[in-house]
């Protein structure tokens, strides 16, 4: 079994997370923002799996499956909301959707 240094794995997770964050910040379309959030979830999942393999325990993988389930649930609600938003406003641009100003 080829072992990968923990540091490399963590760097991968960090790159993934920052990519997701940048996507979240720069994209204006809500669908892409949601996809960026998924990338960030997966970055966190990679970190968990790495931790599990580092200490030889199943907990990291359990947590990743748990995150997958949560992400799926969150995504279904998010998509439903996006559909509603689109039906009401005919746009998915977040800059245009700033009605909920405090």
């Amino acid at each position: 079994m080829i072992s990968i240094a923990v540091a490399h794995g963590l760097i991968l997770a960090a790159i993934l997370f920052v990519l997701g964050l940048i996507g979240l910040l720069v994209r204006r379309n809500i669908v892409f923002i949601l996809m960026s959030i998924e990338i960030m979830f997966n970055a966190a999942g990679v970190a968990f799996v790495l931790g599990g393999s580092r200490w030889m325990q199943a907990d990291g993988q359990v947590m990743f499956i748990f995150i997958l389930a949560v992400a799926a649930a969150e995504l279904s609600i998010g998509l439903a909301l996006i559909l509603q938003i689109y039906q009401r406003t005919k746009t998915l641009d977040t800059n245009a959707l700033s009605k909920m100003r405090g």
Binding site: L21, L24, V26, T94, S98, R101
Partner: protein, 631 residues
């Protein structure tokens, strides 16, 4: 029968509640029968109690009735309890009987006014509070009644509240008496901290046991109580509210500002007589305050044009006599004068009220005149009251009470010749201003037509009080004239007898002759100046110095001006420059900072989701940095 004591103050209070709750639904007849009837019941029960109290020797001339515990906290246990002794009995009799007659009179006097039930509600509340004042067996209950009558006085002076001037007079009365009440409250606090009780009889017995004559504590407490008394009784230097209090309806002036409430100060001093005996300096102050006040008010009464203001200054002056009597230790004389004064001054006020209503609310004496023929009953009863006020010798009650005061003001061990001289000068002026009023009002040409002749309900109280003003003095006759001491003996069960220098009884006769001559001389001078040669007084007031003096006296010796410049204007000035209270600036500053911070943070609430996400990201990075750097 004595067990019925608690009913006396409760009946007017119940009637007050009934009038407040249902008064607007009752007819005027119903309101009058409740309002007047309740005081009638009180008076009736009081007379029965007085009869039982005087005839039954087992009571030892004191009776106490505990109803319930009022407050019980850390050893401070004032009770709702009533105390009956000769002093409180005499006050109760005067309050209920004179009060009943005035209520009866008011039932007709106020018949055409709006707020008929409101008027009787206040009047009944007043009688209830006044009875609590004189019957309370502890100082806290007394203070409750004391403030209660002050409240009713305020409400009734401002009864015609639609005129702002009346509201001003009411506030003035309330605020000025508050000055005295504050002094009295402080006195009560010190008294409680020194003796640990509010029960009057305990205080009196402990004070004698614990304090020597002239001890500092006794002097401070007595002086503070005197402060309360001069406020309530309109004595120098807090006398300025009473002339303005005449803004109220005339029955109110008769009941509150002549017969009962303003004598509460006399009651307080007489009730706490032991404290004043322990503080001879303060007792001398009482006499001096009385003597000075009776002179100042006498001069002011001399030049007034409003008939009610003449009577108001006269009331201040007569209470000055009572204070002088208390000050020289002639307790019985002071209480005796209180009783006769309640009769004749209530009578004079109600007589004046009859004239005022007959002339359609005209109060200026110089627009009256010639009323002797038009209002005969009023004339004769008013004359009886006036004769009693000037102490016309032998036939009037006022003679016996005022003569007793003048006599003791010199021969008492605490008296002095100058107190007597002040009293004598006051008696002379009383005669002049009283008969000036009588001559201007009832003689000469009629200047205003009579609109309304008094009915039975107004005339009967006048006649009863006129009879009392004439014969009320026979309860107590001096040594050389019959020597009856029913009143003195009765009151001396509770108040100490006056200690006098040894003198021949012929001296007393001499004094009586002098004061009689002074009274008659005063009437004669009033006759000369105001009836025989009215032109002379015109010429006299052309003289600049006299015109100036007249203006000065007319404004009550300029006390209002002085107090306005000394207290009112500086206070208003302070209030104006400190409109935005500088102490508040700390609190408003905090509010301002919060509002500014809010305005600033609101800028960040753009509604842009990505902006928020960036905030979160930067926050997370900053937090991580902090953790990395600090740990």
């Amino acid at each position: 029968m004595l067990d019925w004591l608690w009913i006396v103050p409760v009946v007017p209070l119940v009637s007050f509640l009934m009038l407040v709750l249902f008064g607007s639904r009752l007819s005027k007849r119903g309101v009058a029968s409740i309002g007047v009837g309740s005081i009638g019941i009180s008076a009736f029960i009081t007379i029965f109690i007085a009869y039982t109290f005087i005839t039954s020797s087992t009571t030892g001339y004191q009776f106490s009735q505990v109803l319930w515990m009022w407050i019980s906290v850390a050893g401070f246990t004032p009770q709702i309890a009533f105390y009956l002794d000769p002093l409180s009995l005499i006050f109760m009799l005067v309050i209920t009987i004179v009060g009943f007659l005035i209520h009866l009179y008011a039932a007709e006097y106020m018949a055409d006014e709006d707020g008929y039930s409101r008027f009787f509600a206040y009047m009944n509340l007043f009688i209830g509070a006044m009875l609590i004042l004189v019957m309370g067996d502890n100082l806290l209950l007394l203070y409750l009644g004391w403030e209660g009558v002050g409240l009713c006085s305020y409400l009734l002076i401002g009864f015609w509240y639609k005129d702002p001037q009346n509201g001003y007079a009411a506030r003035k009365a309330f605020v000025v008496t508050r000055v005295g009440d504050t002094a009295m409250a402080v006195g009560l606090f010190i008294l409680y901290s020194a003796l640990g009780t509010m029960h009057i009889q305990t205080i009196l017995s402990q004070a004698v046991a614990q304090w020597a004559v002239g001890s500092t504590l006794a002097i401070i407490i007595a002086a503070l109580l005197l402060g309360g008394a001069v406020g309530k009784s309109a004595q120098l230097p807090l006398q300025t509210w009473l002339p303005d209090a005449m803004a109220g309806p005339t029955p109110v002036s008769a009941l509150i500002h002549a017969a009962t409430m303003v004598t509460a100060g006399v009651y307080l001093i007489a009730r706490m007589n032991v404290l004043f005996t322990l503080a001879p300096v303060v007792q001398l102050m009482v006499a001096i305050v009385g003597a000075v006040t009776l002179l100042l008010a006498g001069f002011s009464a001399l030049v007034q044009t409003d008939i009610k203001r003449v009577l108001a200054y006269s009331t201040i002056s007569q209470i000055g006599y009572m204070f002088m009597a208390l000050g020289v230790g002639a307790w019985a004389a002071g209480i005796f004068h209180f009783m006769t004064h309640a009769f004749f001054k209530a009578l004079l006020f109600m007589g004046a009220g009859t004239i005022i209503i007959a002339l359609h609310h005209e109060q200026n004496m110089f627009k009256m005149g010639g009323l002797k023929k038009l209002l005969p009953v009023t004339y004769w009863t008013f004359l009886a009251g006036a004769a009693s006020l000037v102490a016309l010798p032998l036939v009037t009650a006022g003679f016996y009470s005022k003569d007793m005061i003048l006599w003791y003001s010199w021969v008492s061990e605490k008296g002095a010749w100058w107190l007597w001289a002040a009293g004598l000068l006051g008696a002379f002026m009383t005669a002049v201003y009283t008969f000036r009023m009588v001559f201007i009002t009832f003689y000469g040409d009629a200047k205003t037509a009579v609109h309304h002749s008094p009915g039975k309900r107004m005339e009967i109280p006048l006649i009863i009080l006129a009879v009392l003003s004439l014969i009320g003095g026979f309860l107590d006759l001096p040594h050389n004239l019959g020597h009856i001491t029913v009143f003195s003996d009765f009151i001396q069960q509770v108040l100490p007898a006056v200690r006098i220098h040894e003198v021949e009884s012929s001296v007393e006769t001499f004094f009586q002759v002098i004061s009689s001559l002074v009274a008659i001389g005063g009437i004669f001078i009033a006759y000369l100046l105001y009836l025989k040669n009215p032109g002379y007084i015109q010429k006299l007031s052309q003289v600049p110095i006299i015109a100036l003096l007249k203006k000065y006296w007319f404004s009550g010796w300029g006390f209002d001006w002085l107090y306005n410049h000394l207290f009112v204007f500086p206070f208003l000035w302070l209030a104006r420059i400190n409109k935005r209270d500088f102490i508040d600036s700390g609190y408003t500053g905090i509010a301002w900072i919060n509002r500014k911070a809010n305005e600033w943070l609101v800028q960040t609430q753009t509604g842009n989701v990505r902006w928020y996400a960036m905030g979160i990201a930067f926050g997370a990075v900053a937090t991580l940095l902090l953790i990395v750097v600090l740990l």
